[in-house]
């Protein structure tokens, strides 16, 4: 009887509304809000008006979200004012703001390549972009022909891009395991769809989407089971709470908690499953199998975006997990990450040597780079965090730029990605070949490019953090990797062009801007990196 009255009384009390810090959440809210508006555009605007409206909306949203990130950083949210927002679900601190800024800028540059419509010849008098006229139409079928003739374009890619960016902004900021999981899915699901939407070579594109989806869902199931086990161990999903239980400094031990914390199997298995889920997104060996196929099959603008931004977001989440949740387990995760880093560097560099397709080559190079970045993660020092932040910023712009160049080299079948077709490109189009050479040199880590500064910072941090052997492996892998980057440069400049080889399309200012920004960032971060290194080292403190 008494319990019933109590329940009735409680029901009459007002529910306290949670405090939401809209200011600190502004970057995420702007991007997700614009994505929702983009969907409304799809529903209500006539087809002809959608392209202009969607590109303007997406560009404005990304730019204003970046302005919001800068505003938060200037207001001290990266240092003195750093804290937890949205009832502790998100942490707004230095690493969060730095990575959100990088993700937003890279997405803005990718948006330019998404919006490019001058590369393909006109279809029925209309400009077309890299995306299928109608994603649902069977390739080569009647409905596809009708859609092309009617001039349909898949403008849904812009809201999908914004949703993916929204998830990526939350991912490195997530401060509990539930937010981590939801953010992971919010950015993965749009990417699966984007992969399936290529205009040319649609069977390849759909196959890439299928592989990415099945393996991605498989890995997120592992991540979720890891979350369940960690929750079982600690009785909470909040990062700080788990860290306290792991370090044994928590207050208020209940009987159930005493039983589960005694069981290290829950902690170790849960942590390992969680790491497996994140390493999949990063594309580190042995969870790299999807990378070459998906990079090759996806539309090239999507590949560039995914290769750059996903890596930034996933490494952000990985850093926070290892440095905030599991610092008490450093001695357990370090050997495992050593193995993963060495395997990634070695396998990525060695297998890339045998590749004959530019996109697959860049995919294996991204696996090797995941290994280099992991070397900085393993350092487990503040210098390790800031070197990883800097490397991610440098690497993402090189990647987007390189894939933007790949979209330019075309023959009758669309993009000519086979390396043999790139022979002699430097004689026919010296500028494009020179720009691509700059990106390749940056990937290889040659001085005066951002790749060198990034690698130097990461290896220095790793050596000081007691991972000297890893640095040796890293340098050897870099040397192997340099071989195949230089080989492509030699192929472009010192072999004779083939008759009937590809031509270089003249892009609109959109792609030109994207490539120019890529080159500019690569050279500035290589020649005068000090300001950005300082920025990264100031940003390298996690709030708890």
């Amino acid at each position: 009887m008494s319990t019933t009255t109590e329940i009735v009384l409680r029901a009459q009390e007002t529910i306290p509304a949670p405090d939401i810090e809209y200011g600190q959440l502004a970057p995420v809210l702007i991007v997700i809000g614009a994505a929702v508006v983009g969907i409304l555009f799809e529903a209500f605007l006539p087809r002809r008006a959608r392209y202009v409206a969607q590109t303007l909306l997406s560009g404005l949203a990304l730019a204003s979200a970046f302005a919001a990130v800068v505003g938060l950083a200037v207001a001290g949210n990266a240092s003195t004012e750093a804290g937890l927002v949205a009832m502790g679900a998100l942490a707004v601190d230095g690493p969060t703001l730095f990575l959100q800024g990088v993700i937003l800028l890279v997405s803005l540059v990718s948006l330019f390549t998404f919006a490019e419509r001058r590369l393909d010849p006109r279809a029925h008098g209309r400009h077309v972009d890299s995306f299928a006229a109608e994603g649902a139409a069977v390739p080569g079928g009647e409905s596809e022909k009708a859609a092309v003739k009617a001039g349909f374009t898949t403008t849904e890619v812009y809201p999908l891009l914004l949703f993916a960016v929204g998830g990526m902004l939350v991912f490195p900021a997530a401060n509990d395991l539930l937010t981590l999981f939801v953010a992971l899915e919010v950015f993965s699901l749009p990417l699966y769809v984007l992969c399936a939407l290529a205009r040319r070579k649609r069977l390849l594109s759909q196959e890439a989407a299928l592989k990415y989806f099945l393996l991605g869902a498989f890995s997120s199931a592992f991540l979720l089971f890891g979350i369940a086990l960690l929750y079982g161990y600690a009785g909470t999903v909040k990062y700080a709470g788990i860290a306290e239980v792991v370090a044994d400094t928590n207050s208020g031990v209940t009987e159930a908690l005493a039983a589960t914390t005694g069981n290290d199997a829950l902690l170790l298995t849960g942590g390992a499953l969680l790491l497996a889920g994140l390493l999949f997104k990063v594309g580190a060996v042995p969870f790299h199998m999807w990378t070459p196929d998906v990079y090759q099959g996806a539309p090239t603008p999507v590949t560039g975006f995914m290769a750059a931004a996903t890596k930034v977001a996933a490494f952000g989440a990985l850093l926070r997990l290892l440095y905030v949740v599991l610092p008490g387990l450093t001695w357990d995760w370090r050997p495992v990450m050593w193995g993963v880093a060495i395997a990634s560097m070695a396998a990525g560099a060695v297998i890339a040597v045998t590749q004959t397709d530019v996109k697959r080559l860049l995919a294996y190079s991204s696996i090797a780079h995941a290994g280099f970045i992991l070397a900085g993660v393993i350092a487990a020092t503040p210098a390790g965090i800031s070197s990883v932040l800097f490397y991610l910023g440098a690497y993402s712009f090189v990647t987007v730029g390189a894939f933007a160049v790949v979209t330019l080299v075309r023959d009758a079948g669309g993009e000519a990605t086979h390396l043999s077709k790139w022979a002699g490109l430097g004689r026919r189009s010296p500028l494009v070949a020179a720009v691509f050479a700059v990106f390749l040199l940056a990937f290889a880590g040659i001085p005066l490019t951002s790749g060198f500064t990034g690698k130097f910072a990461v290896f220095k941090a790793a050596a000081e953090g007691g991972a000297g052997a890893l640095v040796v492996v890293g340098v050897v892998a870099s040397a192997v990797a340099a071989f195949f980057y230089i080989r492509v440069i030699v192929l472009m400049f010192f072999s004779d062009p083939r008759p009937g080889g590809p031509s270089v399309a003249v892009p609109s200012p959109l792609t030109s801007t994207a490539i120019a920004i890529g080159v500019l960032v690569t050279l500035v971060l290589g020649v005068a990196p000090q300001y950005f290194l300082d920025l990264a080292s100031q940003a390298g403190v996690f709030v708890r």
């Binding site: 390849l204 299928l210 592992f222």
Partner: protein, 99 residues
């Protein structure tokens, strides 16, 4: 009944799902196996929630269901497009990009 038994059941279901993903050929069945893994995680979450006496695990289970539903939407769309263009949903047939 000791709640730990439900954890063993969850682990068993998860393993069955994982082996299904690795062994089955049909993309739809692979996808169903993934859903089984998600549901195994849900069972573990709810059991832990009961053991610890707080509601976090049950709330996560609800979120997982929503996420799984969203995954079905995207996944079935991709599998159906593949089936329509190739008249096969076998993951072994999707081999255009081998090295």
């Amino acid at each position: 009944m000791n709640p730990v038994n439900y954890l063993f059941l969850a682990a068993l279901l998860f393993t069955i799902g994982a082996s299904g993903v690795l062994l089955r050929r049909n993309a739809i069945v692979v996808f169903m196996s993934i859903e089984l893994m998600l549901n195994a995680a849900n069972l573990a979450l709810v059991t832990f929630s009961r053991m610890h006496g707080n509601l976090d695990g049950q709330i996560i289970a609800f979120f997982t269901m929503v996420v799984a539903a969203a995954e079905v939407v995207v996944g079935l769309a991709i599998i159906v497009t593949i089936f329509r263009s190739r008249h096969s949903a076998s993951v072994d047939d999707a081999g255009l990009m081998k090295l």
